[in-house]
């Protein structure tokens, strides 16, 4: 199934400026894996070497933090929205 992944501003240079990228995936983990396959430069930004999501990166599936769901195993449905958000409010100013 196809889901949308929302890309934060500092990472959009790796998605040709796209704010959202459509990927296939039945879980958050699958969706992010497919995202980093099509956009390899994103991989080290989101994941640490051991394959876990970096500690300062929050992943939301439809506005719910996946830490409080089934983490990377959190299931997705057609059209769901996955967001990648750094742990701080940050951003350009």
């Amino acid at each position: 199934m196809t889901v949308q992944v929302r890309i934060p501003t500092p990472l959009r240079k790796f998605t040709a400026g796209q704010e959202e990228v459509a990927v296939e995936g039945a879980t958050v983990g699958e969706a992010l894996m497919n995202l980093t396959e099509s956009h390899p430069e994103l991989k080290s930004k989101i994941f640490s070497d051991d394959g876990a999501v970096r500690r300062f990166v929050n992943i939301f599936a439809n506005d719910e933090d996946i830490r409080f769901q089934e983490k990377l195993e959190t299931p997705l449905s057609e059209g769901d929205l996955v967001s990648i958000v750094p742990a701080i409010a940050g951003g350009r100013s």
Binding site: P10, L11, R55, F56, A87, A89, G90, R92, S93
Partner: protein, 315 residues
């Protein structure tokens, strides 16, 4: 009477004499300088690393200094006072410092922050009586700055003084006038390197200038998150950000790039090994200072504990 107490007070007389202050603003600054003993184990014998405990300011962060200077200079110029409202876009420590000092002096403070800012931030500025103006959460801190500028542009009655910490020369001046002479006195003029991460860049710019007035050889090192996508609150990755007006890169001798996780880990290590509980950006400062120190055979490296860990804890 103290002779019957073999305790701390007596042994430390002179280290930090107990004082009374006629107002809160007097308590800002003159923060302790503490030597790091554990995380420095691998350094050469002739190398010392010291941290300036800005977390022990009354507002809990280094930002008490620029906020005090910004408000003092604005009052001196007549930009503040007579009921004028201090306005700035900040969801961090500067906002807390404005709110605290504003309460102490009876100056109203309005802070623009994105609506998704943490509840802890809202609670602390509101307890000091500051008013929060919310900006669009999707537009981040950029959106807060745009809204602040819009409020100032539309302010025909002249209600606001726009403090604009990113462009206000009083911000680095605070450190040039206070932080630098303190570090100079506290190291007995021995400081060889000053290291600080950049957010507004006020700390490293101002302290750097103040130390250079006293030493022709001191090296001033800025540090930044290694990547635009980072988790070091309050810090800026300058290459991908709009540069603060007060940031002058040519005044830095070098720049160190710090990974988020290294800063986070160091913040935890400092609490467990040195008894210093600090925020992650202070952790990043110490990572950068240790990097600098590792390349030396002799030197006195000073960095900043910009805030306390408990600001980031909450229910």
């Amino acid at each position: 009477m103290s002779s019957s107490h073999p305790a701390w007070t007596e042994r430390l007389e002179g280290v930090r004499p107990p004082r009374r202050h006629e107002g809160l603003l007097e308590v800002i600054g003159a923060t302790p300088l503490v030597r790091l003993r554990s995380v420095t184990r691998d350094l050469a014998d002739g190398v010392e690393v010291w941290v300036k405990m800005e977390s022990m300011n009354p507002g809990g962060s280094v930002k008490d200094r620029p906020a005090r200077q910004i408000i003092k200079d604005a009052l001196d110029r007549g930009d503040l006072g007579n009921g004028k409202i201090l306005l700035d876009a900040t969801s961090g420590n500067t906002g807390i410092a404005y709110a605290m000092i504003g309460a102490s002096l009876g100056i109203p403070v309005h802070l623009v922050m994105p609506e998704n800012v943490s509840p802890q931030r809202k609670e602390i500025v509101e307890v000091y009586g500051a008013k929060i103006v919310y900006s669009d959460p999707m537009e981040g801190s950029d959106g807060a700055i745009r809204l602040a500028r819009k409020l100032v542009e539309e302010d025909e009655e002249g209600l606001y003084y726009y403090a604009d910490q990113y462009h206000n020369p009083s911000n680095p001046r605070a450190h040039q006038l206070t932080t630098a002479p303190e570090i100079w006195a506290q190291t007995g003029g021995r400081v060889t390197h000053f290291v600080a991460s950049t957010g507004t860049s006020g700390t490293v710019m101002g302290t750097g200038r103040g130390l250079r007035e006293r030493s022709s050889t001191v090296r001033i090192v800025g540090s930044q998150p290694a990547d635009a996508f980072h988790g070091l609150e309050g810090l800026k990755h300058m290459p991908s950000s709009l540069k603060p007006g007060i940031y002058k890169e040519d005044e830095l001798d070098e720049i160190r790039w710090i990974e988020t996780e290294d800063g986070w880990d160091m913040a935890e290590t400092l609490a467990k090994e040195e008894g210093i509980a600090c925020g992650n950006s202070a952790g990043a400062n110490v990572v950068a200072a240790l990097e600098v120190a590792r390349e030396l055979t002799e030197g006195v490296v000073v960095t900043v504990i910009c805030d306390h860990a408990d600001r980031y804890f909450g229910e």
